[in-house]
């Protein structure tokens, strides 16, 4: 097992700069997930580690050793591709033993390793089949098995679950988490699905537009997003953003927009960090909106809203509420409200965030 | 014994090819490996040609010096290319395409350039023996090109007549090819049983070896024994009144050779168009027609507004290819009218060129002729493609 370092990585395709000075560290035995929307450069970063893309500038180090020039097979990595990339003309067993055969490993070793990996992933009964005869989930396991067999220093996963349906995705997520525990391996996992990131990662790196937006544990990234992008990207359903101005008058800070006026207490926002008239964005997660509850410590003033659409989710419901012209999404216990109802809305201070509109950075505590 | 001998010959040739490819790859590989050494250029330009001359020197008769010069030139270009333009990268793709492109260079580019060279000299029956011995032929500047436009390649046909005929031939053929192919494709695209069998049968003119098909069809137009005339005879026997309007057996090959060739070529060419257009038709989703039905379109309206536009992208490449092939179609004309004693009334540009070279042995003249045809075809294609692109932008 090994550590990985990306130092000041720059990647250019012709005139297009895809990555501009990216620094990421992966500690030994860590499960690092790089998450971000399509086109943010995460797959490119992964492929550069694999050796499938050249590095325009910067260094990639595995265990302290610079590997920029090494052939993919000499880097001691294994990769699980998004479309599995199983050789169609070989059986599952042959697929899994291909790399070992190329290294001229003795046949008994190959057989032993293949059997072990197959048992771990419960695909022993498919060993003689060809990939076309397997379902998506089974093919996914074979792809993982192919990687395990090689006993590499680093595992690379390139959006492995995006081709599976929702239910299968859930199952495979659990499998991959268990795999990490069992193998105790260093894993670099790339995805655009933030649920996968939150559930699987030891640490998350959020990327956007070729730059690292924030890195930290899932909890850190969720509860203390560094900027607007991370706040809006992580967490489902998406955070509500309210745009308006800060009003600082005599020691009291308020958020004022056309429809909403709420106090921002010092415990949330240090008054010294905000100027009167500054354009700010307040972020509230749907679970942190209270509907039709009496005033309480830790809640904002009441806001009058009108229910537009409600989605029943079981014992919770999604409420799309219009406060004036501003629409917010609240997620509360299901009570059975009807569209058109007038509702009283309060936000929880506990998980509220304030961002500066210009820099998009978080300025609350 | 004969069999073994020919197998041996061919096996040896294949071995030669494999060895040749290996040498070629190694050669290119050294270019990549050593392109940045100081000694690269000097060594290359002196050693390799000497080697080349030494090995191949005796095989090529009087031409060796010229060939050595060509090789030097080519090698210089390649070495410069590797050193300054490619800078030692892209090893793999170059080595992959090397054998194919060297083959093409030798057997496509070189002949083309050679034709060009020939067209400025005077190679014909009287000078060819001298050339074989010494490699020299008289140099005549543009005389051959002037000849192309002023004298005729054959006995009684001018180049303008040939040009006109070629256009007429191409246009008529392609017109009927597309019309017939489209009609048949439309018919086949319905919900009928036996589509597979019909398609198989209709494709036979294309599947048959062209030589057999053309010679057989030619036989059918024979004045006495050919099917067409026999039928016409019987028709007139059965209904004598027809003779008065002038329907009767015809001397196809003597009097109407171009028509005959056209009929034969149309018969040959329709299946190809049909297959391509049918493929295009089948890819049009039924929902378009359903929507049109709801809107109340007639059959012809559907044809015009849905079928035609959607088939066009599939059909256009085929039609383009077909036009070029028809323009250049020597086979049919030559096989039908070409042998000694045949008529020249059906010749088009390319067949006249072939005859000039191989029946009349006017090699240089034929070369100039070929270049002219090529320039003509090339410019037409360029115009056509430009027009196509311009139309696409709308």
């Amino acid at each position: 097992m090994a550590s990985v370092e990306f130092k000041n990585i720059v990647k250019r395709f012709k005139e297009n700069t895809v990555l501009n000075g990216v620094n990421v560290d992966i500690k030994d035995k860590e499960f690092l997930v790089i998450v971000g929307p399509s086109g943010c450069g995460k797959s490119t970063l992964l492929r550069m580690l694999a050796g499938l893309e050249t590095v325009t500038d910067g260094d990639i180090l595995i265990d302290g050793e610079r590997v920029n020039e090494y052939h993919p097979s000499k880097r001691n990595i294994a990769m699980v591709f998004q479309d599995y990339a199983l050789y169609p003309h070989m059986t599952v067993a042959e697929n899994m033993s291909f790399s070992l055969k190329l290294k001229k490993t003795p046949q008994e070793d190959i057989d032993a390793r293949v059997k072990e990996a197959a048992a771990t992933l419960q695909i022993t009964q498919y060993l003689a089949r060809k990939p076309q005869a397997l379902s998506g989930g089974q093919r996914q396991r074979v792809a993982i098995g192919r990687a395990i067999v090689r006993k590499p220093k680093v595992f690379l996963f390139d959006e492995p679950l995006s081709n599976l349906d929702a239910k299968l995705r859930e199952e495979m997520r659990v499998e991959i988490a268990k795999l990490h525990q069992r193998l105790n391996a260093t894993i670099l996992y790339v995805t655009h699905d933030q649920v996968e990131a939150m559930t699987l990662a030891d640490r998350i790196v959020v990327m956007y537009n070729g730059k690292v937006q924030q890195e930290g544990t899932p909890m850190e990234v969720y509860s203390k997003p560094a900027n607007l992008f991370v706040a809006g990207f992580i967490g489902s359903p998406t955070m509500n953003f309210l745009r308006g101005k800060a009003a600082v008058k005599g020691g009291k800070t308020e958020f004022i927009s056309n429809d909403i006026k709420i106090t921002l207490p010092p415990s949330l926002l240090d008054p010294k960090t905000v100027k009167d008239g500054q354009e700010i964005v307040v972020g509230v997660r749907p679970d942190d909106i209270s509907v039709d509850v009496p005033a309480k410590e830790g809640l904002t003033e009441v806001l009058e809203g009108k229910l537009d659409v409600s989605e029943l989710l079981g014992h919770r419901e999604n409420l799309y509420i219009y406060i004036g012209e501003t629409r917010v999404l609240a997620n509360t216990d299901a009570v059975g409200r009807t569209p058109g109802d007038k509702v009283k809305v309060r936000f929880n201070y506990a998980n509220m965030h304030v961002f500066d509109k210009a820099t998009e950075k978080r300025i609350s505590r | 014994m004969e069999l073994l001998k020919s197998l041996y010959e061919v096996g040896w040739f294949l071995l030669l090819i494999v060895a040749g490819v290996g040498v070629l790859e190694g050669y290119f590989y050294t270019h990549f490996r050593f392109y940045d050494r100081k000694w690269f250029f000097p060594v290359l330009l002196s050693v390799v040609p000497l080697l080349f001359w030494g090995i191949f020197g005796n095989m090529l008769g009087g031409h060796t010096f010229a060939l050595w010069l060509y090789f030097l030139l080519a090698e210089g270009l390649i070495a410069a290319f590797f050193r300054y333009i490619v800078k030692g990268q892209h090893t793999v793709p170059y080595m992959l395409i090397a054998p194919a492109f060297v083959g093409l260079a030798l057997l496509l580019v070189y002949p083309f350039v050679f034709e060009f060279y020939l067209s400025f000299h005077d190679l014909k029956l009287t000078t060819i023996m001298a050339w074989k011995e010494t490699g020299q032929i008289p140099f005549v500047w543009f005389k051959q090109y002037v000849n192309v436009f002023t004298t005729s390649p054959l006995n009684d046909v001018s180049i303008w007549m040939l040009l006109w005929r070629t256009f007429l031939w191409t246009f008529t053929n392609v017109f009927f090819h597309v019309l017939g192919g489209f009609a048949l494709a439309l018919l086949l695209n319905n919900n009928i049983k036996g589509k597979g069998i019909y398609r198989t049968l209709l494709v036979i003119p294309w599947a048959m070896p062209q030589v057999v098909a053309v010679l057989a069809m030619r036989g059918e137009f024979h004045a006495e024994n050919g099917f067409v005339n026999i039928l016409l005879n019987r028709l007139v026997e059965w209904w004598p009144a027809l003779a008065n309007i002038g329907i009767g057996p015809v001397q196809w090959l003597s009097n109407y050779p171009l028509t005959t060739c056209t009929i034969i070529n149309v018969w040959l060419g329709i299946p190809f168009m049909m297959v391509v257009i049918l493929g295009g038709l089948q890819s049009i989703s039924k929902s378009y027609y359903d929507a049109a039905d709801i809107d109340g379109a007639t059959y012809f309206q559907k044809l015009r507004y849905i079928t035609l536009p959607l088939v066009k992208p599939v059909a256009m490449p085929a039609i383009t290819l077909g036009t070029i092939w028809t323009f250049n179609n020597i086979n049919v004309i030559y096989l039908v009218t070409g042998q000694a004693g045949g008529t020249e009334k059906a010749d088009i540009l390319v067949s006249a060129m072939y005859k000039a070279a191989f029946t009349y042995n006017r090699y240089s003249y034929s070369a100039a002729f070929a270049i002219v045809i090529f320039i003509l075809l090339f410019s037409i294609s360029v115009f056509y493609l430009h027009g196509l692109d311009a139309a696409k932008e709308d």
Binding site: F81 | H90, I97, A100, Y110, P111, E115, L215, M353, F378
Partner: protein
């Protein structure tokens, strides 16, 4: 009656009463008309069906006529090949002539070099096809997977080589082969044929390679092959359909070729079957029977092979054009 008032002037109760009454009378009307409506509907449906049937019948008819036109020459050759010697020039149109005999076939096989011609063609064609496909497979791979200087030019050269008039290159090739003293030989023919189908083969193979996902080669790279190793071990085995198509195309082009053979080969022993058959059908003395027999013997296998692989061929031809 309520109906005399304008609806706008009625009260709600009066309106609903009017509504009920109107509904009743409409129902009655419908009940009376129903049988007539049903009969009309049936009549329309039947005539539609009949029109459909006539349309289908006509379609079948036209297609069958066209099929007939397509096959007839072939059938005629067949019947000519069966004609007894004295009736060779008859104007008889029947399919199986009187006194049908295989004597033409026998005569062909015994008195001419037909078998030798077939052998010549076979040797030359197979050698040419192998060379053509191997050269094309590597070149097409380079065009499909790599970006390199000169790629565009290469593609343009390949495309425009289709435009060269067929006869244009025969002359220089002829002169080259003559100078190398390879006239009338297998080697000469193979050299002449080997690159004639190259551009088309490259085009087809490139189209096919483009459909193979690159992740397969990347997986192979990660597993430990070199770039060429990935091509050899992974891509080639997967491209057998396209390789077969290319081989078939090379084969049929070389097999049916006439003009180049005419120029390079000049002794009857060395002829390919196209030359041989042509020799049998001279302008004045046509040995119709043997010519027809020879034609049949060559055409039948070609047709069988073609029709057997036709589905492949068609899809292979459209592969390139749909993707490209």
């Amino acid at each position: 009656m309520i109906d005399n008032k304008k609806t706008s002037a009625m009260s709600p109760e009066e309106l609903s009463e009017k509504y009920e009454k109107t509904k009743e009378s409409l129902d009655q009307l419908r009940g009376m008309l129903m049988p007539f409506l049903k009969a009309q509907y049936e009549k329309n449906r039947k005539s539609l069906e009949r029109r459909e049937k006539i349309k289908i019948f006509l379609i079948h008819l036209v297609i069958i006529i066209c099929c007939f036109i397509c096959i007839y020459p072939l059938l005629r050759i067949f019947s000519i090949s069966l004609r007894p010697g004295d009736k060779l020039f008859s104007t008889d149109l029947s399919l199986i002539p009187d006194g049908a005999t295989f004597s033409a076939y026998v005569s062909l096989l015994k008195n001419t070099n037909f078998l030798r011609w077939l052998w010549n063609s076979l040797v030359i064609t197979i050698a040419t096809s192998f060379i053509g496909v191997s050269l094309a497979s590597t070149a097409a791979y380079a065009f499909s997977r790599f970006r390199f200087p000169g790629k565009k030019i290469g593609m343009i050269i390949l495309l425009s080589s289709q435009m060269i008039p067929a006869g244009m290159l025969i002359l220089p090739l002829f002169l080259m082969i003559m100078k190398m003293n390879l006239m009338n030989s297998y080697l000469g023919m193979i050299i002449a044929y080997s690159v004639s189908s190259l551009p088309f083969s490259i085009w087809i193979l490139k189209g096919y390679y483009d459909t193979i996902p690159r992740s397969l080669e990347e997986a192979a790279l990660v597993d430990g092959t070199s770039a060429v190793g990935a091509f050899w071990r992974i891509i080639l085995p997967l491209s057998t359909p396209a390789l077969s198509i290319a081989f078939l195309f090379n084969f049929t082009t070389a097999w049916n070729e006439y003009l180049v053979a005419r120029v390079v080969l000049f002794s009857s022993q060395q002829y390919t079957w196209t030359l041989g058959l042509f020799e049998l059908q001279g302008q004045y003395l046509t040995q119709w029977g043997m010519f027809a027999a020879g034609s049949m013997l060559v055409t039948i296998p070609v047709l069988i092979v073609f029709l057997y692989s036709s589905k492949w061929l068609i899809s292979g031809l459209t592969l390139g054009s749909v993707k490209g």
